[in-house]
Amino acid sequence: MIEIKNLHAKVDGKDILKGVDLTIRPGEVHAIMGPNGAGKSTLSYVLAGRDGYEVTKGSVTYYGKDLLALEPEERAAAGVFLAFQYPVEIPGVANTTFLKTALNAIRKHRGEKELDAMQFLKLLREKTKALGMSDEMLKRAVNVGFSGGEKKRNETLQMAVLEPKFAVLDETDSGLDIDALKIVAEGVNALRSPERSMLVITHYQRLLDYIVPDHVHVLAAGRIVKSGGKELALELEKNGYRDFGVNEAA
């Protein structure tokens, strides 16, 4: 279970998160929507442990542990996964090498045996095929020269390989064509299980037709201002964020 309590965070001296409260139980999928600049990505970075995001107040408890005290790699090993809104290009590091290093690091941390090259390739082929990705994309450097949609698929592939316990998907749907959206959503749904929780950040209710959330929240100006069921997303689609005291021009 993930419990975010009264979370305040600063970036570059600027208060961005101003008291986020959110509890996600095992097996649940929560969606967060909200205007640009509300702090959605900031929340995801704080959860993943990015440098420069200073938590000034509040706590995040992850299965009884103080998540904020862990290094990013320890969080990943503990099962936290962030699908980046803007996946990073890493010239010179092959996608396969990257995935293998990551998976084995996490397996090692969990006390599992590391996979050898053959075992890993077999696993990777399966996952790649399921996501409609080409082998060629695996040989290339991580995200380098990938189209926007390919980068998002690559994020989904990483999630499928690493099998996290808590996945934060930051606008994984943006930039995807209609077919890709379905494929990625299927990939995400395949991972849904009673032990696994997800936090899906999106601007579009469309994604939530495929990945049906248990709860929908509105994050505005650094706070969760409204929570509801999946019908809240439909309501937002119709009315925008006006009702939440958000000046959309800002």
Partner: protein, 451 residues
């Protein structure tokens, strides 16, 4: 050869440092090999005179602006003692997993026959020590030594000539292609409590149409201060190809100074790659002259320094004839308070039309106190040429580092992946796969050490 009296300019040099470096010569000279050959005596004498007049270069010498030999000048070096003592190494470095093959081993600059082998070399290939050559093959070395490495404006070449005694000699006859690499192993041992110097001279003659791969390993053991002052003269004949790789990873008390001068005839190719990991202070000078039309040269490398190491790479590519191609790709990784220097000059002579020259030096600074001084220089006297150069210095990408860590990869491994990726562009310049692999492991070892 007549001895001439010349007056030398001492600007950018410090003659006061000379006596300490030359003193040991007095009781050595008569015992040096080849004393019977007048050209050898002349070469030594000219070197001695030249160095006596100028001493070590100082930072006022334009070419030494960023590399200060002050610490070196303060030491009193003694020549290496005859190296037949038990050396402090178990396994000599090799790029051959099976370990057998032609190689020459030099300990503190002296040839060690019992560690060397010329097994498996095709008939006609000569691989021997200079000391032996000076005794038995005076003609072979006499035609070449001293022809490329000019002592006039290079005091350290002069010093090397003054001590000319030993080093590897390789001649690949016309049309012969060597199937396996030749390894040259230089071990710096030195002695406890005193500073030891040696001045190896390398000669490689790749005759027309020949092909060879030469791999140099420079390693160290022991804690004594050493000065290895290398000079190499390399002749690449018409249509010949010479791949010349070097890995320098001597210890923290090693000074490594090296001057390599190559000349490439028509259609020939000289391919040089230097990986610098070791030494307290190192300087690799590579001068490659495209002396025939349609000649090619690749002068590339990687330098990785940390602590208070200093690594200097100074290259000169001289396009003297038309249709030449040169390619230079250097990558450097600098940590802690280490400092690196890159000076790369390309000259295109008036007649060298249709020259294609490309130079790149990129440095990665891993700490706020790491330093790179880079000075690229193009001197183009022909009008129909294509020349480019680029120099950059940067840091590790924080975003990439976080991305890797967010996937469970620990910080040091993540840094290692990114550093390895950064170096890849240079490492890919190593055309021979087994050697690329071997050099990759050296880089991996360097990254490991940090942890």
């Amino acid at each position: 050869m007549a001895t001439m009296t010349t007056t030398y300019s001492t600007r950018g040099a410090d003659p006061a440092t000379a006596p300490a470096f030359l003193a040991p010569l007095d009781h050595l000279r008569s015992g040096l090999p080849g004393a019977a050959l007048s050209w050898v005596r002349d070469l030594r004498e000219q070197g001695r005179e030249r160095f006596a007049a100028v001493g070590l270069p100082t930072v006022r010498n334009e070419s030494w602006r960023y590399t200060n030999l002050r610490d070196l000048g303060k030491l009193t070096f003694q020549p290496a003692v005859t190296a037949d003592s038990d050396a402090c190494f178990d396994v000599l470095p090799t790029v051959r997993p099976e370990g057998h093959g032609p190689r020459l081993v030099f300990v503190d600059g002296r040839f060690r026959a019992e560690l060397s082998s010329t097994e498996g070399l095709p008939a006609g290939v000569e691989l021997l020590s200079l000391a032996t050559a000076l005794t038995d093959h005076g003609d072979l070395v006499g035609d070449h030594i001293g022809r490329l490495a000019a002592a006039d404006d290079r005091p350290l070449v002069a010093l090397n000539s003054a001590y000319l005694a030993d080093g590897p000699v390789l001649r690949i006859p016309r049309g012969v292609a060597l199937a396996q690499p030749i390894e040259l192993v230089f071990v710096s041992v030195g002695a406890e409590g005193r500073a030891t110097s040696f001045h190896p001279r390398t000669l490689i003659v790749a005759e027309a149409g020949s092909r060879a791969v030469v791999v140099e390993h420079h390693v160290g053991c022991g804690t004594g201060t050493t000065l290895a002052n290398h000079v190499a003269e390399i002749f690449v004949g018409e249509g010949a190809t010479l791949h010349h790789y070097k890995a320098q990873r001597e210890g923290g008390a090693a000074f490594h100074l090296s001057h390599t001068a190559a000349t490439v005839a028509k259609d020939g190719c000289y391919d040089n790659f230097i990986l610098t990991l070791g030494g307290r202070l190192s300087r690799n000078e590579v001068v490659s002259t495209l002396a025939g039309t349609d000649a090619r040269t690749h002068v590339s490398g990687g330098y990785m320094v940390r602590g208070n190491q200093h690594a200097d790479t100074t290259t000169l590519i001289d396009h003297a004839q038309p249709n030449g191609t040169s390619r230079e790709v250097y990558k450097g990784v600098i940590d802690d308070t280490a400092r690196a220097v890159f000076q790369g000059k390309i000259i295109v002579r008036p007649q060298a039309q249709k020259t294609d020259g490309h130079q790149l030096n990129r440095a990665l600074l891993l700490s706020d106190t790491a330093e790179i001084d880079a000075k690229p220089e193009l001197e183009i006297h022909a009008d129909d040429v294509k020349c480019s150069h680029g120099c950059t210095a940067g840091e590790l990408d924080d975003n990439a580092l976080f991305y890797l860590r967010a996937r469970g990869i620990d910080q040091e491994t993540a840094r290692g992946l990114l550093i390895g990726a950064f170096l890849a562009e240079a490492m890919e310049e190593i055309a021979e796969e087994p050697i690329r692999e071997a050099f990759h492991s050296l880089v991996a070892g360097w990254l490991e050490e940090k942890r």
